[in-house]
Symmetry: C2
Subunit: 344 residues, 2 copies
């Protein structure tokens, strides 16, 4: 095996050529600069032989393009985000990009810091699943000229392009399923109040009820965030109510896990004692004590489209308004919703 060559100058010297020529050949610009076929071939062969590949840092400096994309995720340990991250990474790699992964720990301050960090690292673009209600720090980054793509939710009042699930539809379908099964007193444990994904889901829940002439009981909409603990706490509250709901709509996979914990503690079983539908399909959904009916989000598609759009913005500087997309979720029917008497 030939000794590795470390930079373009060394390779050029071995070939008796200038770095200019080598660079142009390696970047496929031979034609534009009238490099002869013969020279081109020699350069390419030598590059292989000596295992030369351009230093991407130097390249990035000169080109002001790092072929790197920042990805900010509230919790990469959550398989929902994990699988989105996976698709994004693979999709990016296929286009020559790498992903700088950042976990915002579901914390707005951290998130703001991460955005600055990524800007400092000169990423070509950022994909973010925002954690909080505030969007100032995100738009600021956009105004600094860094292409940003929002996933999982959108940020109202901004022109940040996004790709999300149609959360309203998902919640509508789930709630209608409850209603069809005879439920009237349906609780909704929400995530962060005020962010779009949550608002849309709650709105879907409300709309479904109203469409069927069922009054919305505001005390049945409760919760503070998408975590497990929230699901646990809110469920306990619900169980303490004089008239318990017959069904719980959990707006995230972690919330429903918390709900299950609270129910178990209380010695209640699904769906006999209480029915559940959860947002976010998971590999284990089918194997829970009671196989869970879930709203499945098209995670692969979200990831793929988010990166593709980002790439478009990076390359063509597309007007960002056009890049908004809401994908249809799917309701997966299992056994966690019990059919009950309408009279109930």
């Amino acid at each position: 095996m030939e000794k590795k060559v470390n930079n373009i100058k060394e390779l050029a010297e071995k070939l008796g050529l200038s770095p200019t020529t080598v660079s142009r050949v390696l970047n496929g610009k031979s034609k534009n600069f009238r490099i002869s076929q013969e020279t081109s071939r020699k350069v390419l062969d030598a590059a292989q032989k000596y295992h030369y590949s351009p230093n991407r840092i130097a390249r990035g400096l000169k080109l002001e393009r790092t072929e790197t994309v920042g990805l900010i995720i509230p919790d990469i340990a959550n398989p929902y985000f994990g699988s989105i991250a996976k698709t994004i990474e693979v999709e990016a790699r296929n286009s020559g990009y790498s992903i700088i992964l950042c976990d915002s720990l579901d914390d707005e301050v951290t998130e703001a810091e991460l955005l600055q960090l990524l800007a400092g690292r000169k990423v070509d673009g950022i994909i973010i699943a925002p954690t909080g209600k505030s969007s100032r720090h995100v738009t600021e980054i956009q105004q600094q000229g860094i292409p940003v793509m929002v996933i999982d939710r959108y940020l109202p009042g901004t022109n940040l392009p996004f790709v999300t699930t149609d959360n309203h539809l998902g919640a509508l379908m789930a709630t209608e399923h409850f209603i069809e099964m005879g439920h009237r007193n349906i609780a909704c444990i929400q995530g962060i109040n005020g962010i779009s994904a949550n608002s849309e889901r709650v709105k879907g829940y409300r709309d479904a009820l109203q469409n069927h002439g069922i009054p919305v009981n505001e005390s049945m909409i409760l919760g503070t965030d998408f975590g497990e603990e929230n699901g646990y706490i809110q469920t306990k509250k619900l169980l303490d109510l004089p008239t318990r709901p017959t069904a719980i709509f959990a707006l995230s996979n972690l919330i429903s896990l918390g709900t299950l914990r609270a129910l178990k503690e209380a010695g209640l079983t699904v769906p006999e004692d209480i029915s559940i539908v959860s947002f976010d399909e998971q590999p284990y959904s089918a194997f829970l004590a009671c196989p869970m009916t879930t709203v499945e989000q098209p995670r692969e598609e979200i990831g793929r489209l988010a990166f593709d759009f980002l790439l478009n913005i990076i390359n063509k500087g597309l007007p960002t308004q056009t890049e908004n997309l809401m994908l249809k979720p799917r309701l997966i029917f299992r056994e966690s919703v019990k059919k009950i008497n309408i009279s109930n």
Copy 2:
């Protein structure tokens, strides 16, 4: 808000100083180069005022240090790896490093490509959860002078430093639990045959049996990889056997999910019809149809230690042999193992 300054030269001009001085102050080298307190203060103030932060690409080029670490994971959608990735990212960030995330898709060829990719991106080090049996491509990277840290398993015959769970102990504990509960015919669905994590677990399984004078039935050790499908297929095979095992030890969280699917299809329930213990604790483990007894790996510790060690190697060029660590797992008792008659 003051206009942003884009490079050190601009900032130096505003201050009437040279880039040299500005750079030295910003890097905390004022003393070494006798920059006056007054000048230092001015520089620091101006840097804040004009929102200047050094271009990390240029810096990386000059210093030959990118403050970037590559992370190669077989499947980031798997929450086991997700939570390891999370700790690593946070730990790295606290030390000024960023993570370039790569998903090897559990494919050796991809993994080899990713290692080259990361080398080309001039990462300061690499943390890898290797996917296959081969370790050539990993040691090659190490020989190129890039610090490498292996997690989740170790690569025998190399001097690649690693931090893993004590897989032998975990499997030993799990199998002994089965035995104590009266099981004698215990199947073991393994992952990739030949990699350390798997071999250690299988060895733990064997040793537990032998310690108790139970002969090892080789046909009860089966399986090809850590995926869900493997768990499904092997379980079906086991169920077709003339004398079914009374217990299944699944060597990964995905395998046990596959096992559950097969059992469900066959109309069998846990633990009445068959007992299970699974490697890898998960948030949902407690809420499965039958709450699962699991072997929990110390994921946070693995991630944290892996990065800390890597940083040591990067900074101090420590001899890598000293950085090996095996952490104790914990057996979490739930209800998936039934007590049966010894006579059985």
